[in-house]
Symmetry: C2
Subunit: 233 residues, 2 copies
Amino acid sequence: VKKFSIALFMDGTAMLAMPAKLSKQPSIRRLPAYLGLLRQLHDRGCDTVSGVYLAERLGLDKVQVRKDLTITGVMGKPRVGFSVPVLIHAIECFLGWDQALEALLVGAGNLGTALLGYTEFPRHGLRIVAAFDSDPTRAGREIYGTPVFAMGRIAEVNARLRVPVAILTVPADVAQRVTDQLVGAGVTALWNFTPVTLDVPAHVVVQNESLVAGLAVLTKKLCLDECRLPHND
Amino acid sequence: VKKFSIALFMDGTAMLAMPAKLSKQPSIRRLPAYLGLLRQLHDRGCDTVSGVYLAERLGLDKVQVRKDLTITGVMGKPRVGFSVPVLIHAIECFLGWDQALEALLVGAGNLGTALLGYTEFPRHGLRIVAAFDSDPTRAGREIYGTPVFAMGRIAEVNARLRVPVAILTVPADVAQRVTDQLVGAGVTALWNFTPVTLDVPAHVVVQNESLVAGLAVLTKKLCLDECRLPHND
DNA sequence: TAGATTGTTAATCGATTAACAATC
DNA sequence: TAGATTGTTAATCGATTAACAATC
């Protein structure tokens, strides 16, 4: 059963609000791994693949793989499996990676530079079209082919470019201020690599990417592993 | 009810195996955010804080905050809240961040260099003590104070250092080969920033950090937001 | 046909949310 | 005392896992 909320206003109009939270997020997070493997198989000339094989290669459960793939709408053939090119296309379309998503990058420090040079992004529909940095010596130059502008020029540059997404790789103490500027410049989605909880208007989407969250999980896994008695494989 | 598996061997010995999967992972991933905010409050001289306040500042539900904090074992006082320094200490201890965790970093390219200079890591108990790179011109130098060695010297160097953790920031095509070397050199935990599904022995812990997974979620959130009708705040 | 692999339906598991009594 | 905030217990929700009929 799907649920929707309906808002009724005084003037008699009504509004259908989609559920605010993204559903099936765990499945969505696994899709890029399927896509990567499928592209590999495609390059090697494989035309069909079974969910069982994908599960084995990716260290996942075979039932989970079948379940995940259903969200793309692709149907497999019993005894045969899935069509590799069909599945690739379906995942790309589902994730919106068939058409390039343009982004700004703000904060061309260590991490920002790394992301500007990250070759996986162009392969996954993300194109960083402009970067901004507070360091005036960086402005006017290019990093991996992306032009770098002075921080103060966000509004001016994006008035022209109309880019909807911004990648935030600035120091924590300026994160909120820069966010306000970006929102003012028409950005509606923020990929936040700072450890700051951003305050944004309701129409702006935020995706937090916390490296220390991953570190926390790693540390706990490690100590859980140390507590375990040694085992023989 | 907690569950444990017990393995019985032919020689009559038995083994108690802890559950393989890490439980309460969502709570664990949120703990660093609590810690960061608590440290801020501590610096400003706050001595107690309510769960309600933490929830508000971090954009979380207040009941969830209370639930999360229970895993640290700290009890709050009704009407008063939690002791800030006690909570800070408890989270640090729970995550093992009270004592430094040493790590190797393999692959001092863009992302590797960014992580070597990432100031959040020392604040969260992670100390990168040595880096490795296949580029011989990088070897022998230091990056942000960390010495860089030639890739071939992993086994030799770690025979001396005995570091249990490795951060993997190498190109995808060498990820598995480098992993085998690291495991051979005694590494028991891998923080994997490559898009490769690593094949490791059972005693080795892997934490995958997939940037494209985050991108997938961002893209879907964005399209979900576009589908929504405009709303008035 | 036989068997592998699929999609579907139900059961289990864990996390989030809600309700409420306890307490400073 | 009154009221804010807590911990606990139960209900809901969603994701994973299991069971099984369908099909090439």
